[in-house]
């Protein structure tokens, strides 16, 4: 009896034990699952409805990015004479950020701290025309964005890890770097040229009446260091004084070649709109930069060095430089993804001329030349031309999609023509508003365009937006090209003045972007500090005071800085936050200082304390609940 009782207890004990264990395991599993769910965190991205079909509702759906969700593409607009780059998203076309490049920009403190001020070199504006992305094997690699400054002959490199301008270099002997920055398929070079020809080298005097004899054009290449992205100017080529307009780099069979279009092969002066529009054909210039490199490798002292760049004459590089006659004052030259078709848009003609690169190679081999201009052989037009496509009035630029179509912007017609490669026939046109300059198919200058959209970058926008007075914004229009017919989806407006723009898939770039500088790993500044305890003031010279400032919610350490009138005060500003979006500013009242320091970043600002009195400093970039309290005093003791 006792025995049986005991056995029942045993059984009960075991069952209870196992049950308890099962409960524990189930609870553990549940907690794991919960953690995993939180880990995934993000809301699932809704698939956007297809852009097929017609009607306003479906157009709205095609561009609608619901709150909290993200665009499919980055769009980098050149900011024209604003000197900036604008970042937007496709398909919403929302402006997301502005990257200051050639112009001081108080919003991010650019041009106020010592490093960026030095980088700007005293200039307070630039004229950004052609942003281009670094490439590997002819496709974007998401490392750098390069932009040119048409006004002051510069090229800047923006690091896409943090979307900041890291380097600006001068293009020697160039006057108006319009036809840049075109990047070769493995980012070996950025091609550039001078828009305005001048007496050579830059700084030489010659009256305009001596234009044909004394003025020179120049095209060249900027080398990109494959590791660091640092730019250098190894060589350039003197050309006749044409006006170099636009350029492109080859793909596939044409990789290794650069292309530039010219107007004013008349070499005229005065009223250029007339004098430079007389010739029925101007020239496209072809340079085999790989061959130039080879020639220089065998003969490193070729040519002469002027302003730090090796300057070559066309006769020095025989076999590497050619002309093709091209109708008429051509603007854009663009290379199809296969590298075989070179398309030049004849601004003052109604045609684009398509050259066949295989035929070009053959003509070079057969020395099929019709002329020699300034030691540059002119290829026989009829031998290298594949087609003249009648696209409409004022063709400026051509882009390519992933289905064998080309899209040409028509300035005078205010339209885009879609035409079929190899059939050389226009299949569709769409009106744009108004006067389109460049156009952009995402990835349209790579060996594998993404397709999907074309964006019209229009010069005029009047009447399409709320009136804002005489100073008008620019318009960019998003057009769906996934169907047979192009379909206008959206009007966006930007500040002046996007010329070209370039676009990369978000999925190919966003994972590489950082939002915080790791104070240990990324911030290598010798004057960084990492905690509030390290904030301090030191007199490091008879008239120099250095201040190591810690910016963190919600105090600027130290909270007061006393100096003598006439002292040079160097602020080493470190934002010691390590969380995204926790920016702090440092503005000094009355001293024209505003620096914005990102999380984990160190910046420096130097002022001359030449005004006695008390000048409060404060956080200019709203940061926290006690942002208003984030302030201190610069006390400048007067001289006796």
């Amino acid at each position: 009896m006792g025995n049986r009782n005991q056995r029942a207890w045993v059984r009960m004990g075991l069952i209870l034990g196992l049950f308890a264990l099962a409960v524990l395991i189930a609870a553990y599993a549940a907690s794991c699952q919960r953690a995993e769910k939180v880990e995934r965190g993000k809301a699932p991205t809704a698939t956007r409805p297809s852009t097929g079909g017609g009607g306003m509702v479906s157009a709205a759906e095609a561009t609608y990015v619901p709150p909290g969700e993200k665009d499919d593409y980055y769009l980098f607009y050149s900011g024209g004479h604003s000197g900036n780059v604008f970042v937007a998203g496709i398909p919403s076309m929302r402006h997301i950020a502005t990257i200051p490049v050639f112009t001081p920009y108080p919003s991010t403190g650019y041009g106020f701290d010592d490093e960026t001020k030095k980088m700007l070199g005293g200039f307070t504006w630039g004229d950004v025309h052609h942003p281009n992305l670094s490439k590997t094997n002819g496709k974007y690699d998401g490392r750098w964005l390069f932009v040119n400054d048409n006004a002051n002959n510069r090229i800047a490199r923006i690091d896409l890890r943090d979307f900041k301008t890291k380097e600006i270099i001068d293009l020697p002997n160039v006057a108006g770097a319009h036809c840049s920055a075109f990047i070769t398929d493995n980012s070996e070079y950025i091609l550039y040229g001078t828009r305005f020809s001048i007496p050579f080298p830059i700084g030489t005097y010659a009256p305009v009446s001596d234009y044909k004899e004394k003025y020179k054009g120049v095209v060249g290449a900027v080398r990109i260091d494959p590791e660091t992205g640092k730019m250098s100017t190894p060589w350039q080529i003197v050309t006749p004084p044409f006006d170099w307009d636009l350029g492109a780099t080859g793909h596939g069979i044409s990789h290794g070649w650069g292309f530039w279009t010219s107007y004013n092969s008349e070499m005229a002066t005065g009223k250029l709109e007339v004098t430079a529009s007389q010739n029925e054909r101007d020239y496209t210039l072809l340079v085999n930069w790989k061959k130039v490199d080879e020639i220089l490798e065998n003969n490193p002292n070729l040519g002469r060095v002027l302003n730090g760049v090796r300057v070559l004459e066309p006769k020095d590089i025989k076999g590497a430089i050619f002309f093709i006659p091209t109708a008429k004052s051509p603007h854009g030259v663009d290379v199809a993804p296969n590298g075989k078709w070179i398309v030049a848009s004849g601004k003052l003609a109604s045609i684009v001329t398509v050259f066949n690169f295989e035929k070009i190679l053959k003509a070079i081999e057969n020395q099929d030349f019709t002329d020699t201009v300034f030691d540059i052989p002119v290829l026989n037009y009829d031998s290298v031309k594949e087609a003249e496509v009648n696209v409409g009035l004022g063709p400026l630029h051509t882009q390519f999609d992933n289905k064998g179509y080309a899209y040409t912007s028509l300035f005078i017609d205010s339209a885009i023509a879609k035409w079929k490669l190899e059939e050389w026939k226009v299949v569709d046109t769409i009106k744009v508003s108004y006067n389109i300059g460049h156009l952009l198919v995402p990835g349209g200058d790579t060996v594998e365009p993404y397709g999907e959209y074309v964006i019209a970058l229009n010069k005029l926008s009047h009447g399409r937006h709320l009136s804002v007075g005489p100073s008008q914004p620019e318009s960019s229009q998003l057009i769906d090209i996934s169907g047979e017919k192009m379909r206008l989806l959206y009007d966006a407006f930007t500040e002046p003045e996007p010329h070209y723009a370039i676009s990369i898939k978000a999925s190919e770039l966003e994972p590489k972007v950082i939002e915080v500088y790791d104070l240990e790993k990324d911030n290598k500044d010798p004057n960084k500090i990492t905690s509030i305890e390290q904030a301090r003031i030191e007199r490091t010279g008879p008239n120099t005071v250095e201040v190591w400032v810690a910016l963190v919610r919600s105090t600027i350490y130290p909270t007061e800085v006393e100096v003598n009138e006439g002292d040079t005060v160097i602020f080493h500003l470190t934002n010691i936050e390590q969380t995204t979006d926790e920016l702090h500013g440092f503005g000094i009242v009355g001293y024209n200082v505003n620096v914005v320091v990102d999380p984990g970043e160190t910046k420096h600002v130097t002022i001359k304390a030449d005004k006695p009195g008390v000048y409060p400093y404060y956080c200019t970039n709203f940061c926290s609940a006690l942002h208003q309290e984030m302030q201190g005093y610069l006390v400048v003791k007067p001289k006796r």
């Binding site: 045993v10 264990l21 939180v38 965190g41 809301a43 939002e515 915080v516």
Partner: protein, 224 residues
Amino acid sequence: MGFFERINQYLHSSFGLVGRLLLIIAAVLIAYGAFNKPLWFMEFEAQMYKDPPLRLYIYANRLEGGDVPNRDDIREINALNHYIGMDPIVAEDFKEFLWLPLGFGIIVILLLRAAVLGEFKTMIDALVIMLYFGGFSFYDFYHKLWYYGHNLAPDAPIKVDPFMPPIFGTKKIANFTVTSVPGHGSWMLFIAGGLILIAFLYESIAYLKRQRQGAAQTQAAPPN
């Protein structure tokens, strides 16, 4: 035999393979869980911290923030807590990070010892010390949370009433929803505890059975 003799005999007798295996599994679970997995997990969710929320993982020997790009969660939690005058949560303030690993190490050794020697007393030693150590650690954790919630600087910019942060479950504190649950490490410890308990019960019952069979055999034997 009197009661104490029987207890004594029980304590000094050996248990079988099942118990030993369960103890070894428990020792492995503790060695793995307590040293590699967080013991506790706290999450701080607010409008601007929800994708994902701020996270704090408490290990036996260290603190870790959530593995989120572009954010240092511990630094962020401290940056926010300074507004209410809470002490920063820094590893130097945790003496626990010395004695917790030591304690778990001792428990693992005691369990392995019990598995090798196989005497009931060794198993009970391990069980008792584990229960005590677990209870003490839990109390210490409770006290630590209480201390952080109650030791607020009097000159803090934002005054809040002293509060007890949640230890199990969810609590709303200012704009944050704070959730606190045992981490994977603790769950492994609980499961290890369960295994030891089962080993104890199973082997004790087996022992009792053996005793009873032995007694029955003695009774059944013909008297000499």
